[in-house]
Symmetry: C2
Subunit: 347 residues, 2 copies
DNA sequence: CTCGCCCCCTTGATCGATCCAACGAGCGTC
DNA sequence: GACGCTCGTTGGATCGATCAAGGGGGCGAG
């Protein structure tokens, strides 16, 4: 049965056909039709053909509500959807959500979005969970001391986090994350391979574990290559303006020939400073960003950027969810994926 | 009953409490508990208080599947989620989806995402519809001869389109859209107010009705102000590169002092050409884009851009959906909203 | 020829909330 | 005091699919 078996000209009847309708028409019992859908192996081949034909004729699809009620599952995955911050280059949520939708669909799940509310971070989760509206959650905003993860664990609600629990002592849940340090290491090594030796770092303030992780990739790669790092690092707010200022200061004081940034937003700031100083990105000074956002791709001088493998993250998350939901033992508590480098004119 | 009545320390029982559990504990019948939830007015005040207290004690939430089965509704709105095209500045989908999720939630709906498949454009819709998994759809990708809209209309499936049906003869469905012409008119008038008179247009190829609509806003405003337009318009592919080329040609041949573009992507191209020619955006040459994408906000020289009122679009869509679903007469077949102008350094 | 077994299929019960028709108490009216 | 009426409440039936048993026919073995 191809998935294109909807007959273009046909109108949906006022009330869709039920299992009983199909059963009567095919001359079998309800259970047999049910088996034809869910356990085809139990039927004799000729019966199966006959029932399937009737199903196609009537355009039957199992009623989701009835199935959900009986099986106590919904085939839905809940995702709290908070908007991308305006003024920031990071729009990876869009890409991630799409990947998740695709991966979920292949596993027979659909994605249910619900809004977030900072004042009551678990309100939405609580509602969906108690009304058994979703089978599991994907939690994306895992920051330090994340209340959702703790609460969901306490409720024994199945969920997978996108993002490591940085406060590792109570990390009882499963997670999938991208290795930020590996990403910046990749970027740094790429610049070294291009002949740079004075490579500067512009990152976030110290209270961000993700920022510190990304910074460590730069630091360790520099050390491994016996290159200097003193006076070459700076920590600022994640806004264009701050990136520009930091670049200006670093250029004046330490004369780097390349920049690795914790985000595309900061990299934009660096490009701005280069512009003002009439320095050509890529030829005079190399710049690498992080997240491969749309700015990186659209900016007239393409920005080299670390790209998170969000498609793989989604697939891994769904795989883990399936294991959780089928009560299979989850092999590992966390999965760490390595990003790639999208190389463009700026490096 | 505040929405924060989840007791933090409590664990969800293995099987959640049912209506019957609450009824027994409160010493009333199931129907009375149901009324307490859905029609509080029918209960005597003291009974209502007692039942509500029991509900709170047990942490009861109506089982969604059971309710859906009985009422033949799901409180879900289906949205086909296709990814933003990479290499294009347009990431408004993210903003729109969030707005839709918020607006839906306020109306008691949640948003269900399902993947799109260009080969079988109605496959996902068909499945969800036949299995009565969603109450209605929001259709976003309405292009010329859009098959989904036609098919959904034929199936009598409730849906609202974001986007006008440009082939108006078979436009039987309701829609909400943003007035692109009004947006570019706003942009053009803004430039005229700033003293520009030679204002160029860079738009899409002629086969795009949306592009032609946006172009008409520029054209009519120019005409209304008795300003020349000959030699000042060009139609290209929606990529940065093409925008840059068009800008170069226009600058050489027609000496415009300002550009209005059909997209931020094209505006990026213009900025690139200005850069190469050492022209300062905003002071030497003014540029206005369309969609207020993240590049417009993050680009070192903030790009003035037409901003679609996506929040309002979402609210309007949900309002229309509610009317459709409650079988109220829909006042008007289409709603057209006016965009605003986000003014930045480039103009 | 009969028994037993397996395979294939059928029947009744169930998930939990809502719809429906009816019922009892309280009150006013004649 | 009986009747009709309203209001709050009640028990049974229902939505459509799946679970858990139960049944009948064909075939080989005793």
């Amino acid at each position: 049965m191809g998935r294109s078996d909807h007959r273009p000209g046909s109108q949906l009847p006022v009330t869709p056909p039920t299992l009983a309708d199909v059963a009567e028409r095919a001359g079998v019992s309800r259970q047999t039709v049910s088996n034809a859908v869910n356990n085809p192996d139990l039927l004799r081949p000729d019966t199966l053909v006959r029932v399937r034909q009737t199903i196609a004729e009537l355009g039957y699809s199992p009623n989701r509500a009835a199935r959900n009620l009986r099986t106590r599952t919904s085939s839905l995955i809940g995702l709290r959807f908070t908007p991308a911050q305006e003024g920031t280059a990071n729009a990876m949520m869009d890409r991630f959500v799409h990947s998740l939708v695709e991966a979920s669909e292949e596993a027979g799940y659909a994605v249910l979005l619900f809004p977030g509310d900072d004042e009551d971070p678990i309100g939405g989760y609580d509602n969906l969970l108690r009304s058994t509206a979703v089978d599991a959650f994907v939690v994306t905003d895992t920051y330090l001391g994340n209340p959702q993860a703790t609460w969901l664990t306490q409720q024994r609600a199945p969920f997978v986090a996108f993002g490591r629990p940085w406060d590792d002592d109570v990390a009882r849940h499963v997670w999938v994350d991208v290795d930020g340090a590996a990403g910046t290491a990749l970027a740094t090594q790429h610049l070294i391979d291009r002949g740079h030796s004075r490579i500067a770092w512009i990152g976030w303030r110290k209270d961000s574990p993700i920022g510190e992780d990304r910074r460590s990739g730069w630091l360790s790669t520099m050390h491994a290559n016996n290159l200097p790092t003193t006076g070459l690092a700076s920590r600022v707010e994640d806004v264009v303006h701050s990136g520009a200022e930091a670049a200006a200061v670093l250029l004046d004081e330490s004369a780097p020939t390349a920049f690795v940034c914790a985000s595309d937003t900061l990299a934009m700031g660096v490009l701005h400073t280069l512009w003002i100083r009439q320095l050509a990105p890529g030829t005079d000074i190399a710049v690498v960003g992080f997240d491969d956002s749309q700015v990186a791709q659209v900016y007239p001088v393409g920005l080299t950027s670390v790209r998170q493998p969000l498609e793989d993250v989604a697939v891994e998350i769904v795989r883990t969810l399936r294991a959780l939901l089928s009560h299979q033992p989850v092999e590992s508590r966390g999965v760490l994926l390595t990003p790639t480098l999208a190389i463009r004119e700026s490096s």
